[in-house]
Amino acid sequence: MNYRLLYFASLCDAAGCAEEQVASGARDVSALYAELAARHGFTFTPDRLRVAVNGAFTDWNHRLVENDEVVFVPPVSGG
């Protein structure tokens, strides 16, 4: 399936882009993160990240559908 990934902060630096279209066999966000972490060298373990699908926080078991927009949210540092 095809997903749209947005990357922020150090994940953006590691991926080398702010967004990309990904064709993947992953069917949930957990499997998708494992695949992308291996490809881009992401060093965060999932317990340090939150995940959002289509603009809303969700959990790591979230089942993905075609054209979902997925964001792995690294630890925040606003303020």
């Binding site: 150090s10 630096d13 959002a52 926080f57 690294p74 925040v76 606003g78 303020g79």
Partner: protein, 140 residues
């Protein structure tokens, strides 16, 4: 009200927005760009946000504060982009009938924004390097 802003924060305008006939207390917090962090000299910050989710989460925090404390008005704005020393990075203001609720609600809003809203800062050091901050937890 919660917003992400690419333009400098209009503090006077935001304070004006807190006015209410029942507001006997107004508490405002300004988070400003500081010239050091964890032993290193800093000469600027860049902020990035996942704007869609940041504004949704920020509005949720404001509504939580409204349900927890007896307040009149709440506003919070966070900057994105490149900021210089002394610039206001985040502004939170609360008006309420009495000071306890105003202080408590303002503290709640800024603490939750720092902990939950998807915004990241990149520190620029005087030596010329820079890095994104991804803290385990943030000092209060």
């Amino acid at each position: 009200m919660f917003a992400i802003s690419e333009a400098p924060i209009d503090v006077a305008g935001l304070q004006h927005g807190l006015e209410a006939d029942g507001a006997g207390a107004v508490v405002c917090f300004e988070g400003r760009v500081r010239n050091y962090n964890e032993g290193r000299a800093v000469n600027g910050l860049s902020y990035q946000a996942y704007i869609e989710l940041a504004e949704a989460e920020g509005r949720r925090i404001v509504e939580e504060a409204r349900s927890r404390f007896a307040v009149e008005r709440i506003s919070c704005v966070h900057r994105v982009g490149d900021l210089a020393l002394g610039d206001v990075a985040v502004w939170a203001g609360v008006s309420a009938g009495h000071r306890a609720a105003a202080f408590d609600a303002c503290r709640y809003v800024i603490d939750e924004v720092k902990a939950r809203v998807p915004i990241w800062k990149r520190e620029h050091y005087v030596e010329g390097d820079s890095e994104w901050l991804h803290p385990e937890s943030t000092p209060k």
